[in-house]
């Protein structure tokens, strides 16, 4: 039983790691996509920007696929419910994620202005939209989503997507996520790009970091005035993983701050987020590109762990049937399954991190406009 609880907590942490990895790596590429038309003024500059992330976008995109697969296996009921409840935005997200690889592969293979302009816009939309959706999903989850279950475990949705998607808090979270992506993407462009890409990217990256910091502060205050969720009956963390027949849950204003009040050391998480964003803007100002990029990673770690800590153990509260809220205790896979998943994660995550780093190491250095334009292999 204790092992099962430990596995549940471990996979909640790994879920956070996955969501962070996804935000950093995919977010960076999305940020470059958004900046494509803003930073790149000529076709050569735009191609250079694409080739800066060219050798890596494919691998980065797998964070997304791995995220889907890992949530499916480690949190089956969460996967089944959240992906369906957010259907329309998930489909929009999918469309964007499908357009991007094709845009990379096809944009530069035909030398016509209209063709390339079309793909440039595709990069902008398919970069901005997923990041907004990604942040807004966090916002929606924090607010609670309307759903309940039948006795077989089939979910039923209690509100239409417009009412939960289009609310100010969620949109604000979406903008924050987009800002962090622009920051991360801009920092990457500074690392690998030369003038004039470098300076323009620096302007947008700093702006992204500052906007994110402001929203993060506003969000913290806002959350203390909105509903959080708490158990109102004793809960057994080792319970069978089902949202049915669980302990009572109530919505309570400011409850998302409870964990921080109980364990003040947890305030470190939001502090790390602020350090990342503020010092990140500063580092880029001082042309410390590498430090700036890593502070971007720290910003994401701080932000996502803040959300995770404030909600723990809730993963997706139900605003209409709070007792059927999805939590770390009631929506994971079985102990046997989590055991095997842990084994594979322990073996392969270090491998993934090492060959990914190796790829960045091999492809290191500045990407020059002339090289890109004259190389038949480039994007």
């Amino acid at each position: 039983m204790e092992i099962y609880i430990a596995l549940k907590v471990l996979w909640a942490v790994l879920l956070g790691v996955l969501l962070t990895g996804l935000a950093v790596m995919v977010g960076m590429d999305m940020g470059v996509g958004v900046l494509l038309r803003l930073v790149g003024k000529t076709d050569g500059e735009r191609r250079t920007m694409l080739n800066i992330i060219g050798p890596h976008w494919d691998g980065n995109q797998v964070w997304f696929i791995l995220g889907g697969g890992a949530i499916f296996a480690a949190f089956p009921t969460l996967y089944a419910t959240s992906f369906s409840v957010f259907y329309v935005v998930m489909i929009l997200l999918l469309f964007s994620m499908i357009i991007r690889p094709v845009a990379f592969e096809y944009r530069s293979k035909v030398d016509a202005k209209k063709w390339r302009d079309t793909w440039d816009w595709a990069f902008l939309v398919s970069g901005a939209l997923p990041m907004i959706v990604y942040g807004a999903a966090f916002g929606n989850v924090l607010e609670g989503v309307g759903f309940h279950f039948s006795w077989t475990g089939q979910y039923y949705q209690d509100e239409s997507f417009l009412s939960y998607l289009l609310n100010p808090f969620a949109v604000m979270c979406g903008v924050m996520s987009l800002s962090l992506a622009v920051y991360q993407g801009g920092a990457m462009l500074m690392l690998r790009g030369e003038e004039p890409i470098y300076s323009r990217a620096r302007t947008y990256a700093r702006l992204g970091a500052i906007v994110a910091a402001v929203i993060f502060a506003v969000g913290g205050v806002w959350i203390s005035h909105m509903n959080g969720y708490v158990f109102t009956a004793p809960v057994d963390p080792g319970m069978a993983a089902t949202p049915l027949g669980g302990p009572a849950v109530a919505a309570k204003i400011g409850a998302w701050h409870n964990n921080f009040h109980a364990y003040p050391v947890l305030w470190l998480a939001p502090a790390i987020g602020f350090i990342g964003m503020i010092f990140g803007a500063l580092a880029l100002q001082l042309h410390m590109k590498i430090v700036g990029w890593w502070l971007g990673v720290l910003s994401w770690i701080g932000t996502i762990s803040t959300v995770g800590i404030s909600m723990f153990p809730f993963l997706m509260p139900s605003s209409t049937t709070p007792a059927e809220s999805l939590t770390v205790w009631n929506s994971t896979g079985s102990a046997y399954n989590l055991g095997w998943m842990t084994f594979f994660a322990v073996v392969f995550v270090p491998a993934i991190l090492s060959y990914t780093s190796w790829c960045y190491y091999v492809m290191r250095g500045k990407v020059k406009v002339e090289t890109v334009v004259n190389d038949p292999h480039s994007y």
């Binding site: 050798p55 890596h56 691998g59 995109q61 797998v62 997304f64 696929i65 791995l66 889907g68 697969g69 499916f72 296996a73 480690a74 949190f75 089956p76 009921t77 996967y79 089944a80 419910t81 992906f83 369906s84 259907y87 329309v88 998930m90 489909i91 999918l94 994620m97 499908i98 357009i99 991007r100 690889p101 094709v102 592969e105 096809y106 293979k109 039948s150 006795w151 475990g153 089939q154 979910y155 949705q157 993983a241 089902t242 049915l244 896979g333 079985s334 046997y336 399954n337 095997w340 594979f344 392969f348 995550v349 491998a351 060959y355 990914t356 790829c359 091999v362 492809m363 038949p376 292999h377």
Partner: protein, 543 residues
């Protein structure tokens, strides 16, 4: 428990089928081309001959165009279980999600991260290091196929998990049973080698075009020879494994094998004919027309001369007791969910193995509640449920036959091609070369029909014998389905147009044009002029 709108279920099925079939237009080529690229580059590294590097570059470029859409559309598949099949995902996520997650961790990450180095790392890596990268990409894509088919194998023949009434889902309990499920392993080999056939036909067909045009002679001849031999060996292996799969279906999915053979009534060995053609009518449960070869069916399917093969109508009637037991299982499960009583659990455990048939009956129960089934209603519900327990015979019968006919055609075309290629007589057989060219899409088509045979033949289940398809879908508003279907249709049509345009463009340009801008090192001056001559063909149309 309200029934999910049958239109939503149908549209969800349509969307899944379209996106899966579309994804699989690109996967076979990825599987096959990575292996061939690894082979070409190996020859380059061992012999140092520039032409093999050119081959790797050129076929690699076409591979890249294909790979991008393969990755993009694969993402849809990974997400669609959650977005459209929530009950399914909840029911089997604990065991089905695991191979998908392992696929990401072990295979897809490696393949996609290293493919960047494969394209961009030529000047930054030593020859052996680049070769290693190419090998790992090939290994990654084929390992991907392994884990995906392990997941699919669970849908066909659920091994390695059991139903847990406390969590209302299948729970994973035996890793080796899941991974080494005979169905999963046979299908993995069958499917990935079918990909090799597709890759071989692709390279052979485009090389045939160059040979017909008299262009890039040495390049085309070498590519053609490699592809034809590789293709012949692969096709033979695919057909062998296909037979093994049929045998496994006969053991674990008798409804599928009966549908494949258009067999309504249990066969009478040894005379029972193997139907070459028939017009199965699903409404009347009979064949309007049939034409077959006697004495073939029994040894082909059962690998024996005396075993009768169960027909669909007989399977249906034999399932009536399973429906009765299933109704008891569902009623007990529902009670257990509410009361957690030991008595209900005991009843459920007794009838558990027929639970899926209870779901089939639940559909026809008043208010979808099996407790409301009266003895008067039971006989008609039993008959409706068993009629639902078999797949669509027309679709399964014909998709199998198209796939099989194509398979035997491939053996012939690869055999002739390999023979004339090895004898250096290809130029004398322009008809064969044209046929090779026109056959490029056929292996992909064959894999699509293979998918239809396997998945349409699995119906009415998403997890064979446990969970019916009509119960697996998400309870969406029908408007959502129109929105997503329209979006997929629009995007996917645009992509296939762009893909074909680029494939034709670069295939026509050929290796010399493609490499015109690549700076060869001085040692590469040995490239003989005739191979890379003949400019100006780019405007000629494809024929």
């Amino acid at each position: 428990m309200p029934l999910i709108d049958p239109n939503v279920v149908d549209l969800s099925r349509l969307q899944f089928a379209l996106t899966a079939l579309y994804h699989f237009l690109f996967v076979p080529l990825t599987l096959g081309l990575t292996i061939m690229l690894a082979a070409m580059e190996t020859v380059y590294v061992v012999t140092g001959k520039q032409i093999y590097k050119d081959m790797t570059h050129f076929w690699g470029k076409l591979f890249g165009i294909n790979f991008a859409i393969g990755v993009a559309t694969g993402l849809t598949m990974e997400f669609e279980f959650g977005t459209n099949w929530s009950m399914y995902s909840h029911f089997v996520g604990d065991v089905f999600g695991t191979p998908l997650a392992i696929e990401g961790l072990m295979a897809f990450f490696m393949e996609s991260t290293l493919v960047g180095l494969m394209f961009f790392g030529w000047d930054r890596l030593s020859k052996p290091a680049h070769l290693a990268v190419t090998y790992l990409v090939a290994l990654g894509s084929n390992l991907s196929a392994l884990w995906i088919l392990v997941a699919n194998g669970f849908m066909q023949d659920p091994q390695g998990a059991s139903f847990d009434p406390n969590t209302m889902r299948m729970q994973f309990n035996d890793f080796t049973a899941l991974v080494f499920s005979a169905d999963a392993q046979a299908k993995f080999v069958h499917t990935s080698i079918a990909g090799f056939v597709a890759g071989a036909m692709f390279v052979m067909g485009i090389s045939a075009y160059y040979i017909l045009k008299g262009r890039n002679r040495e390049f085309a001849a070498r590519s053609f020879r490699m592809a034809s031999v590789f293709g012949l060996v692969s096709t033979l292996a695919v057909v062998t494994l296909g037979d093994a799969l049929g045998r496994l279906d006969y053991l674990s999915q008798p409804t599928k094998i009966a549908a494949i053979e258009g067999l309504w009534h249990t066969s009478a060995p040894p005379y029972a004919p193997w139907l070459i053609a028939a017009l199965p009518n699903d409404a009347t449960q009979s064949n309007s027309f049939e034409f077959g070869v006697p004495y073939v069916l029994t040894p082909l399917v059962a690998h024996s001369f005396t075993t009768p093969i169960p027909g669909l109508i007989d399977i249906e009637q034999a399932s009536v007791p399973r429906v009765d037991n299933g109704i008891k299982a569902i009623a007990a499960l529902q009670e257990y969910g509410a009361t957690h009583s030991a008595e209900s659990l005991a009843t459920f455990t007794k009838y558990e193995s027929d639970m899926g048939y209870g779901f089939l009956a639940q559909r026809y129960a008043p208010e979808q509640d099996v407790n409301l089934i009266t003895p008067a209603l039971l006989p008609s519900i039993e008959q409706q449920a068993v009629r639902d327990s078999i797949p669509n015979v027309f679709v399964t019968f014909w998709s199998f036959r198209v796939m099989m006919a194509l398979g035997f055609f491939f053996i012939a075309i690869f055999a002739f091609s390999a023979y004339y290629s090895l004898k250096n007589q290809l130029e004398k057989h322009p008809l064969l070369l044209k046929l090779c060219m026109w056959s490029i899409p056929l292996p992909v088509l064959a894999t699509e029909f293979g998918w239809v045979t396997a998945e349409a033949g699995r119906q009415p289940w998403t997890v064979f014998g446990w969970l019916p398809t009509f119960q697996s879908a998400s309870s969406h508003n029908i408007g959502y389905m129109f929105f997503s279907l329209a979006g997929f249709a629009l995007l996917y049509s645009a992509f296939i147009a762009a893909e074909l345009y680029l494939m034709f463009k670069f295939a026509r340009l050929g290796p010399d044009q493609h490499d015109a801008a690549v700076h060869h090192t001085p040692a590469d001056k040995s490239i003989s002029a005739p191979i890379f001559a003949k400019p100006g063909f780019a405007n000629k149309s494809w024929e």
